[in-house]
């Protein structure tokens, strides 16, 4: 725990840097890069929120995107204007159709809604371990999808939900990323975070030292769901229009790949995973369209980027099965000590 101050410092440094980027980037680089930065930050929020249960608590949830979807739709419904609601969602109950919330409150409500959902879902499901909890949470994701498709009074069903104001800007996303990172860093590197990791390592030993396995898991699940809901709202306000299948298996796999690639037990790893996958898929996407170097013309190879990414995951899992960072944290040279490892004697004296 004595290494603790370094993590907040590192987080602070990262956020300062990010703030600079957030406000500086639009003036320095083109829209394309701003968009990529925004997506990286947004996906970082989503992957960080996923890491709390899947990485730090050992509950490998496949239902996380259900919370993102719930957050996206909740925020979308709240921030449509009254006129839009009348036009797009004519059957919306009276309780919801007479007002319109600004971006920030809509996002907060979306987060709270996802958290509430997580309490209800988690209370029975967090008693399960291993594959069982993965499959059960996947069941939750499927239920959310079916509900979104069928509750057409609220969601326009399988049709595109549209008209959400495009309020998500880079500073907003960086701001939320800062909040997410700060809250999670404090939680994960605290006595409560230690309880979560103890539960991950050995549930039996954890209960034998008085840790409530259910409570540790539920807290991780609910806080993760809150930030997933927030991320969902940011996503909704970024896309403007989306459908239930935006928040389904493809997104699930994408987020899990980023998390596993970066390292499941590391906050900085989560972000590194997002950065690597995002940049690589952007690079590969331009390669995929075909290009010409001198006399050589490479024809368009659609789908090639996915294949290369797939191979990359295989290679990383073979050579670095714990991901790029494993359970170490990047501390920007403030200390050579990882969060969990120190073989140098007397370092903490």
């Amino acid at each position: 725990m004595k290494a603790d101050p370094r993590i907040p410092i590192a987080v602070g440094a990262a956020l300062l840097l990010a703030a600079g980027v957030a406000f500086g980037a639009p003036h320095m680089v083109g829209d394309y890069f701003v968009r990529i930065l925004l997506l990286i930050a947004l996906n970082s929020i989503l992957v960080l929120s996923l890491s709390l249960s899947n990485g730090f608590t050992g509950v490998f949830s496949l239902g996380h995107v259900g919370f993102i979807g719930a957050g996206a739709y909740a925020a979308g419904i709240l921030s449509l204007t009254v006129q839009q609601k009348k036009a797009l969602l004519p059957h919306l109950p009276d309780l919801l159709n007479w007002f319109s919330l600004p971006f920030l409150p809509a996002t907060l409500v979306a987060g709270l809604f996802a958290a509430l959902l997580a309490v209800i879902v988690g209370y029975p499901l967090m008693r399960l371990s291993g594959y069982f909890v993965s499959v059960a949470t996947m069941g939750f994701l499927i239920i959310v999808n079916v509900v979104l498709i069928n509750a057409s009074d609220f969601t326009r069903g399988a049709r595109t939900f549209t008209g959400v104001p495009l309020a998500t800007t880079l500073p907003w996303v960086i701001g939320w990323l800062a909040v997410t990172l700060l809250v999670l860093a404090r939680l994960v590197y605290s006595p409560f975070g230690r309880r979560m990791k103890a539960v991950r390592d050995d549930t039996i030993a954890a209960s034998a030292v008085g840790i409530s396995v259910l409570r540790a898991r539920l807290v991780a699940f609910v806080i993760g769901a809150f930030f997933a809901g927030v991320g969902g709202s940011l996503y909704a306000h970024y896309l403007g229009s989306f459908s239930p299948n935006t928040f389904y298996f493809a997104m699930t796999m994408n987020l899990i790949a980023m998390l596993v690639l970066g390292g499941m037990g590391s906050l900085s790893g989560a972000i590194i995973g997002v950065i690597c996958v995002s940049i690589l898929s952007e690079l590969l996407r331009s390669v995929e369209r075909g290009f010409t170097i001198g006399d050589i013309t490479v024809p368009a190879l659609f789908g090639a980027s996915q294949i290369v990414l797939g191979f990359l995951f295989i290679l990383i899992m073979i050579f670095r099965p714990k991901g790029i960072m494993g359970d170490r944290e990047l501390t920007f040279g403030l200390s050579g000590r990882s969060a969990n490892q120190n073989h140098k004697e007397g370092k903490d004296r």
Binding site: S190, P191, F192, A198, G210, I211, S212, V213, N340
Partner: protein
């Protein structure tokens, strides 16, 4: 025995009566009864499959008895969840070892010390003065216990990287960090050589004297049990075959037949 039983019940820390547990018809423990007083060191011995670990699992709520009573400090703990039983003051170690492998040695003890210095998720995020006090208090406990168990040098190593003997001592340190009144040690000497076993016996006595805990040791190792325990209960195929001082047990005909005869 009769005289001591006549004293007030307050001195009785743990009492099991008629404890029976069967797994799919196979009786693991039958009609087991034991009474334990504060600061006692009691041994439970018996060959493999005689019900020793079942006994611990029942007391700590990892499994539920088919019948019988378990009273700790005068209150029934049957059906209670493990984490509540630990909070009441019973701590245990496991056969083999079950450490938190990705945590450091120090963190393993801290995770347990936090039981008496609880910090919730909100407090962990806000980090007010109460949080700081509790974290500091847990650190003090951890430092003391690591010193006692001779693990201070290894405090920042990952628990999974520790040599076996150190892992066993870390398990004990972690159990003690929950500030128990009753400490259950499941084969603490397994895998230790005779010298390490001697050191361990000394440590267990020190623990009892310093923290005033009662200790129950489940063991194969007769040397440890005979040298350490004030009373011994012998189990064979789930039944109690005798209780007494090491001397009485050693000379009991059924013990010789059921247990010592084998080894």
């Amino acid at each position: 025995m009769a005289l001591r039983d006549g004293k007030t019940d307050e001195q009785i820390l743990l009492r099991t009566t008629g404890l029976t547990k069967a797994f799919r018809g196979l009786v693991a423990l039958r009609d087991q009864t034991i009474t334990l007083r504060a600061r006692e060191i009691v041994g439970v011995i018996g060959p493999n499959g005689s019900g020793k670990s079942t006994f611990f699992n029942l007391i700590t709520g990892f499994s539920q008895p088919n019948s019988g009573q378990i009273e700790f400090k005068g209150r029934s703990i049957v059906g209670m969840h493990t984490s509540r039983i630990v909070a009441l003051g019973i701590a245990r170690t496991f056969q083999g070892s079950r450490l938190f492998g990705t945590l450091t040695v120090r963190e393993n003890v801290l995770a347990a010390a936090q039981l008496r210095e609880p910090v919730g998720p909100i407090a962990s995020i806000v980090r007010g003065s109460l949080y700081q006090r509790r974290v500091a208090a847990a650190e003090v406990v951890a430092t003391e216990l690591l010193d006692l168990m001779g693990l201070s040098d290894q405090a920042d190593r990952l628990a999974a990287d520790l040599p076996y003997g150190d892992q066993r001592r870390l398990e004990i340190a972690r159990a003690l960090a929950t500030k128990p009144e009753l400490l259950l040690l499941d084969e603490p000497a397994a895998g230790l050589d005779s010298n390490e076993t001697k050191v361990l016996a000394g440590l267990i006595r020190t623990i009892r004297d310093r923290y005033g805990v009662a200790v129950v040791v489940v063991e194969h190792d007769m040397d440890l049990i005979m040298g350490l325990c004030e009373r011994i209960q012998v189990l064979a195929t789930g039944e109690v075959i005798c209780v007494g001082t090491p001397e009485e047990v050693r000379n009991h005909p059924r013990v010789r037949e059921a247990y010592l005869g084998h080894s």
